[in-house]
Symmetry: C2
Subunit: 205 residues, 2 copies
């Protein structure tokens, strides 16, 4: 199956594509989706608008979808590195949960982007493909963490999923303006401690 992240074989196209994606990632994360025009992306990438459309026929929504997929992969890579050599059990859970929180703190728009929230109204093949690609990558992140915790108890799995849900839930409450950043930080800290403790219990048994 072809992936949205497949690179073109032609070197010049590959360079154009990379330039567009880097420029778009920067503009989207700085100014958000709505305030970023396709012209601004082309200008910032220093490519002609026709070359941009040559690579991304669906324009801004397609660029956004591919940037979101790239971000998901980068996130997965960071998560994988964070649990390397942590030795399993609660310390692995702590490393993973803290890295997850750090990633979303470093990239405040990542949460929105991985949910494809800004293009949720657009029903194109590219957005659907991005949705399933990101879903696969994020499920892979959860599986990696569960594997790295390395517990025989199936409750390890639900502990990780609930931690994931809780952290996401806090980020969403903040994003919707229900809680302020300080409350969010404090709840994220609580969530990490609470769920590390749950994993510790599971691993003790």
């Amino acid at each position: 199956m072809s992936s949205l992240l497949d690179e073109p074989r032609d070197r010049r196209r590959r360079r154009t594509r990379a330039a567009v994606l880097d420029a778009a990632a920067e503009l989207f994360s700085r100014n958000g989706f709505r305030a970023t025009s396709v012209d601004a992306i082309a200008a910032h990438a220093d490519v002609a608008l026709t070359s941009l459309y040559g690579n991304f026929p669906d324009g801004k929504a397609e660029v956004y979808a591919v940037v979101a997929c790239r971000l998901a992969r980068e996130h997965a890579e960071r998560m994988r590195r964070s649990v390397e050599r942590t030795g399993g059990g609660a310390p692995t859970a702590r490393a993973a949960f803290e890295e997850y929180v750090r990633f979303h703190r470093d990239e405040p728009l990542a949460f929105r982007m991985l949910g494809l929230a800004d293009v949720s109204e657009v029903h194109g093949d590219v957005v659907d493909q991005a949705r399933s690609e990101i879903g696969r990558v994020l499920a892979g992140v959860a599986d990696d963490v569960i594997d790295a915790i390395d517990s025989a108890d199936p409750a390890a799995r639900s502990s990780v999923l609930l931690a994931w849900a809780a952290i996401n839930g806090v980020l969403a409450l903040e994003q919707r303006g229900h809680i302020d950043a300080a409350t969010s930080d404090s709840l994220l800290g609580d969530a990490v401690e609470l769920h590390v403790a749950r994993v510790a219990q599971v691993c003790e048994v």
Copy 2:
């Protein structure tokens, strides 16, 4: 300040408005936003399209926004009733968290609707007004539950907020297809137990 939920003074307009909102609520929750046309709403409400637009000049997005506000109030009312006469502490938290889960299980599209997810791209006054109205109502729900728990410990507040986040997070993972309904049910059960236990700890101190 005028509210999206203000009723018109004229009796006939009020009747039309109520019929449209009831019909729309039913169609949105049965078929979702996208698959529901403004014509279908008018037909189901048995009102002329011109009367619908007379009440809701912005059409479907406005109807949706008002239905979402009504749903938020209904939800707040159900939550308030659920904690009546529970006597505070962990039993109150259990009643509230279980009712919260039940509400979202009974109304699978409520979560999406309260987040105004289907009109997030629409930037109109009505959608902004609905967002702040729903935000106010939901913050009120959290406050009601915290008050009803009736603990002097400020940690009661963060326990309720984290429970809210965790349950929402599970619902969102399910909605995005990351987990199936059975996993979601099991995680929701875990979340309720975990957070009731946290409130019990806070209330013991």
